[in-house]
């Protein structure tokens, strides 16, 4: 499946922390839309290689890009109203809160199987396959057979 226009835009300026080009056997471009992500971690659970990881930190900036009608958006609107200045940056999330966490993506672990895309309930993960030749061979990690869903 080709990337959406927005996905292409993100992919062109791949940030490396939450999106990236897979180095796995199934070459694949994984793009995450942080604004749609609710941080539920279903992609983390689905990922067979551990390329998706739930962060202990959360960047409030992620709230402010969320759609206004979502819970995160509503919280962002409320926060805007009380803001004296811009948020000062990522903070460590209380241990048991599961939904306010960033999701980190490690491209060098990704096998390109697409399990995360199927697992994501909000469509915050997109992926499109890229020819294997395009993938930087040097950073390729072997993936055990059958690891891809």
């Amino acid at each position: 499946m080709p990337l959406s226009a927005r996905g292409r835009q993100v992919a062109d300026g791949l940030r490396g922390v939450t999106s990236g080009v897979s180095a796995g056997v199934l070459g694949c471009e994984v793009v995450r839309h942080d604004e749609l992500c609710v941080g539920c971690g279903r992609c983390v659970a689905a990922c067979p290689t551990g390329a998706m990881r739930q962060d202990d930190w959360f960047d409030p900036a992620q709230l402010f890009s969320a759609p206004v009608e979502s819970g995160r958006g509503a919280l962002a609107v409320a926060l805007r109203r009380i803001a004296r200045h811009e948020p000062s940056g990522p903070f460590r999330v209380p241990e048991r809160i599961l939904t306010f966490r960033g999701i980190l993506f490690s491209a060098d672990l990704c096998a390109g199987c697409g399990a995360c895309v199927r697992a994501c309930p909000t469509g915050a993960v997109e992926a499109c396959s890229v020819p294997v030749a395009d993938v930087d061979g040097a950073s390729r990690t072997p993936v055990p057979a059958g690891a891809c869903a």
């Binding site: 609710v38 539920c40 948020p87 809160i97 939904t99 309930p121």
Partner: protein
């Protein structure tokens, strides 16, 4: 009334429920109560009446709404039914009103309450305008922003049958009680005989006679009867299934299907106990028993049973049986039982030997108290022959117990068991020296202390000191080095026999059955009680009960009491129709993305992901096959933790976000720097009401908002409080670990941590505290609130000074 997504999807069918009709229209009738003039000092009722009358509100003002005349009017309103509209008492707290007008509420008068008495007038000073404004806001918040009407759900388990798992003393007694109450009971026992551990240990304390007897029924002579001759066990409602284990459990609370596997009995009821089979059996049985077919001494009901692991099915027993009672052909049978409730009575067992290997267990001359108990009866013969099995016997208390690396807890019974055995040994063998090494002896209560004193009189030697190891010398005799704390000296004991008082651990079966039934275990592996003080015979799984040692080591006496208590609870559960007045939450399928955050936080497992129906709406970016969360109406306790945790605001609680935020805006207004307090409807509200009834004063700027549970609070509400200029916020809930909804307390703590971080990031200062209160704290509420206000002001002043010094970054 909205139908829950679950019912819509048809995934989790609701139980039979009777719904109350919704009130007609939006008409509101405010019953303004002056409480016999006790509020006249600081509330201007004319203003209140005038202001409340605006809009579609009918105000009926009286000096006292709980007086006799007023009650006549309330009866009229009751008769009007829904035509009366929403009836709202503006006066005392709902708790107080409910008690004063109980007769009417019992007859069906649905009365909401806005507390302007112990929540306002009685706790404030003479500032008439401010107090009147606050009272008006309290009334308006309740009138204009109602919570969704509580739906009455009468839950009725659909099966009257009860399964009791485990036929020890507790299980058998619970089964007998339930059968006598009229419930069909299935008593499931893994072993071929009933009576459990009590049958193996001979005499028990505190009585000193044997264990396996149950209370006699009124129809029998005497006060107790042995299991095998107690006709209570023969009740027609009671079916005993021996050699039966639970394989799987399906269904929902109140209507469970247990699949049970029964091994064949093989020896039928024709058996006349002649014993010819035992003589003919060529195969040795388990545990040193001579034959694979044997009689169970204590369970006189099963005359002979065959150990299926050792039996070779040679047929020798069947051949010699004169009444053809033995049939070796049947196979294990699977059967399904439909039950409304399950009682877990799987008991406990002695700690495994590896926990006491450091004390020499496994070597000759070292045994446990349980092994000693089994030997005591056969030793009696030795005493007649005048031969003691040992000259010196040492008992070591807390063997492997109260030790972080082994058993961390105290099993409570071991001290009494040791004392009981020590006395018995001294009675049987006058020359035997019996020493008990202990850390602390736990013989609480007058009766148990008597046993201790009796042991001293009987010549039992007590040494305070706990040996670290038991060594074995060259002759294979135990050597114990113990520091005698009482005599302040190191002593070396060279006993002939060492008896270890090991702790008691839950049976393996306990954990397996509890897992199948969805009942969680506590930290020590016993079945967790719903409430350690008030609901000790219930588990956290609805319709699953626990009694006896399955929830922690108990004496035979305690087990019998516990079993009767559990039976009464089960009867109540099966007949009273379970819970009532439950208002479940609803899931908006158009917003739910199916992230399962709610599934993880619900303490009652009431939420699950189900497939979407083709017609149900879904959020724009969600995949067509994405699942949706669904509420199981009968499991939901309406705490609101899910609604607070939903990242998409897809879950609507009876007290929905709009109502809660509107109330917050209404109450936080009209005052400079309000201090907002969220209280849970349970312990915290009780504390504040009691405090208010004592007229314990606190500042008017404290504004209280009642939540069903603190779990309802989300970071959004706290940020909104900051927007409204709240100087500080406190959350008052139950005592730590005593949340009525298990996790509401910790859920609130997380939301507070999150909100504090976010609010601080935005450059605001708003202290948020979480308090753990219970009703005895009511004497200090006024002081606590005043103190909090002072602290908040200090923090705000300090923050203000800091901002003046560094205005960079200001907007």
């Amino acid at each position: 009334m909205r139908v829950t997504a679950a019912c819509e999807a048809g995934a989790i069918p609701p139980r039979d429920r009777t719904e109350e009709a919704a009130p007609a229209g939006d008409a509101v009738r405010a019953l303004l109560c002056e409480c016999a003039g006790t509020m006249a000092g600081n509330i201007d009722f004319d203003v209140l009446e005038q202001e409340l009358s605006r809009g579609a509100v009918t105000v009926e003002r009286r000096a006292m709404w709980c007086g006799r005349e007023a009650k006549g009017r309330l009866v009229e309103l009751l008769d009007l039914g829904d035509a009366a509209g929403r009836v709202l008492l503006v006066g005392c707290s709902s708790d107080f009103a409910a008690r004063r007008l109980q007769g009417l509420t019992d007859r069906g008068l649905h009365l909401e309450a806005a507390d302007i008495r112990e929540g306002c007038s009685w706790v404030h000073g003479d500032a008439r305008d401010t107090v009147t404004d606050k009272a008006l806001r309290i009334a308006q918040a309740a009138i204009r922003f109602p919570a969704r009407r509580q739906r009455r759900v009468a839950l009725r388990p659909s099966a009257d049958r009860v399964a009791v798992v485990g036929a020890g003393v507790a299980g058998t007694q619970a089964a007998v009680e339930l059968a006598r109450m009229g419930h069909p009971v299935e008593l499931l026992e893994r072993r071929p005989f009933i009576g459990g551990r009590a049958t193996a240990i001979g005499a028990v304390f505190p009585t000193g006679d044997c264990g396996p007897c149950l209370p006699a029924t009124a129809a029998q002579s005497g006060v107790r009867k042995c299991l095998y001759r107690n006709v209570a066990v023969d009740h027609p409602n009671l079916r005993i299934r021996r050699r039966t284990t639970v394989q799987s459990v399906t269904g929902r609370a109140g209507d469970l299907t247990l699949q049970v596997r029964s091994l064949p009995e093989m020896v039928g009821s024709a058996c006349i106990d002649c014993g010819l089979c035992e003589a003919a059996c060529p195969v040795p049985g388990p545990g040193g028993r001579a034959t694979a077919i044997a009689g169970e001494v204590y369970d006189g009901r099963v005359l002979r049973s065959i150990d299926l692991d050792s039996c070779t099915f040679c047929g020798a027993c069947a051949e010699v049986c004169p009444v053809d009672a033995i049939d070796l052909t049947p196979e294990a049978a699977l059967e399904e039982l439909h039950v409304g409730a399950v009682v877990i009575a799987t008991g406990c067992e002695p700690a495994p030997g590896n926990l006491v290997s450091h004390l020499g267990y496994g070597r000759p001359h070292v045994m446990t108290q349980v092994e000693l108990a089994e030997k005591l009866d056969s030793w009696r013969e030795l005493s007649w022959l005048g031969r003691a099995p040992a000259r010196h016997l040492v008992m070591i208390q807390c063997a492997g117990s109260r030790d972080e690396r082994r058993l961390p807890y105290c099993s409570r019974l071991c001290c009494m068991i040791a004392i009981k055995h020590a006395i018995r040994l001294r009675e049987l063998f006058r020359e035997m020296r019996v020493t008990i090494c202990f850390q602390e002896l736990r013989t609480p209560g007058a009766r148990d202390e008597t046993w201790y004193l009796a042991a001293r009189r009987a010549g039992v030697e007590f040494v305070r000191g706990s040996p670290a190891t038991v060594q074995i010398d060259g002759d294979g005799r135990p050597v114990i080095d113990v520091e005698d704390i009482g005599a302040a000296e190191l002593r070396r004991l060279r006993p002939d026999l060492v008896v270890l008082s090991t702790g008691l651990v839950p049976t393996e079966e306990s954990a397996a059955v509890a897992r199948l039934l969805g009942a969680p275990l506590d930290g020590d592996g016993f079945v967790a009680q719903l409430d350690a003080k008030n609901r000790t015979t219930e588990t956290r799984a609805d319709g699953v009960f626990v009694c006896g040692s399955a929830s922690g080591p108990k004496t035979v006496a305690e087990s019998i009491t516990d079993a009767a208590a559990a039976a009464a609870r089960v009867h109540d559960y099966l007949t009273a129709g379970g819970r009532q007045d439950v208002c479940p939450v609803t899931v908006d399928a158009a917003r739910c993305v199916g992230c399962a955050a709610c599934v993880g936080v619900c303490p009652f497992g009431a939420l699950a992901l189900v497939d979407r129906t083709a017609v149900s709406p879904r959020p724009a970016n969600v995949l067509p096959d994405a699942q949706v969360a669904a509420v199981a109406v009968d499991a939901c306790r309406a705490c609101g933790i899910c609604a607070a945790s939903c990242p998409e605001l897809a879950i609507t609680h009876a007290l929905d976000d709009d109502t809660l935020l509107s109330r917050l805006r209404m109450l936080a207004g009209g005052v400079e720097g309000p201090v907002v307090g969220f209280t849970c409807a349970e312990c915290a509200t009780a504390t504040f009401n009691l405090s208010g009834q004592r007229r314990d004063r606190y500042p008017e700027r404290v504004r209280l908002i009642e939540l069903p549970c603190l779990g309802r609070i989300s970071a959004l509400h706290l940020v909104e409080a900051a927007r409204l200029g709240a100087a500080g916020v406190f959350l008052a809930g139950c005592v730590e670990g005593r949340c009525h909804y298990q996790r509401g307390d910790s859920s609130a703590a997380e939301q507070v941590a999150l909100a504090t971080e976010l609010v601080t990031q935005m450059g605001r200062t708003m202290p948020i505290e979480q308090w753990h209160l219970c009703a005895v704290d009511h004497t200090g509420i006024g002081h606590r609130l005043q103190d909090f206000c002072d602290r908040v002001d200090e923090t705000q002043a300090a923050a203000g000074r800091k901002r003046e010094l560094s205005p960079v970054g200001e907007r």
